[in-house]
Subunit: 193 residues, 2 copies
Amino acid sequence: MKRPQPSARDRLVTSTVTLLSRQGYEATGVKQITVEASAPMGSFYFHFPGGKEELALAALRQGADGVDMLLRETLSAATSPEESLADCALALADVLKRSDWLDGCPVAATALESIGRSPTLREAAADAFERWVTTIGDHLRTIGVADRQTRPLATTALALLEGAEMIARVRADPEPLHDAAASLRVLARDALR
Amino acid sequence: MKRPQPSARDRLVTSTVTLLSRQGYEATGVKQITVEASAPMGSFYFHFPGGKEELALAALRQGADGVDMLLRETLSAATSPEESLADCALALADVLKRSDWLDGCPVAATALESIGRSPTLREAAADAFERWVTTIGDHLRTIGVADRQTRPLATTALALLEGAEMIARVRADPEPLHDAAASLRVLARDALR
DNA sequence: GTCTATAACCCGATAGAC
DNA sequence: GTCTATCGGGTTATAGAC
């Protein structure tokens, strides 16, 4: 093992991923990050001379990795092709509920805040969405969805997951994600016929 | 006409609706609001003694009214039952593009920021979503969707609209909303068979 | 009801010792 | 690389004249 204890840098990034997923970029203070990560101010600006925005950029990328991994695992473990998209919604409901709906998508809130305010963060958010669409699209192609349909359907699936997650968290209720699962089953069946 | 010129109070609320839809709650400063509304600080705290949060609450409600109206108009003007949900996605694409993707849902960003930070705003966001689901659900019932399906399908439709809007805005590209329209057509057809 | 001026506080960022 | 102390500016909110 190279890191029996994560470095201060890693702790800063990981703490920021959580904070961004809970409250977004604007509400997250540099002070709060350093306290959460048990890192002093000085380390922060040593590792991230670009300040808060540079750290958020790294956190968006790490958060995107995490979601991508969850998607890949869920999609490949699915019981049947028609269920694979629905399983993502159910997996999400499971993960979110475990934090009492506090932790959400690590990108969504920052994405909305960044539009028209921070081109850097906006682009990082767009990259994250793009990666997830590609991951879902690759899976759809694998299970036999026609090429012309993979990208539109993958985009819709991601949009539905993001939207249902938002409503579920605000309501503290898994129902919207269960509804999304049902609709994803319908859409998958339609695309596979 | 009762108001040839909107009152300072109305101007404050309306400006806040726009600012919340562009950048969310946390990034929006009281100073910025008063400048945008051409209202002095003093008026602000006279009309909203509860400060920024009380004003945001009023803005979320007014924003919810506006979206509800857009939904009702679009749904009732639809060319066919199967197209009505898809038309909402296309209407959204139209409206959003007109502001170069800057103005979005007046509730979404604040909703995500409010979870675990402001119960008041979180509840207002939940109320807004609830109203829109009810509006869509009522319409679905009207066009003949079975009672047991109206609410789940309405929830999914709203989630998909919200998610697709977010991705479209971050990408500054209507494609996700067009993809959503196509999927909403499939879902509507399935629910009407 | 409207306005200006300012108080009290918190923010991101930096300096400089170690 | 790590830490503390602090700066300058921006924040929300208030005081008090009009």
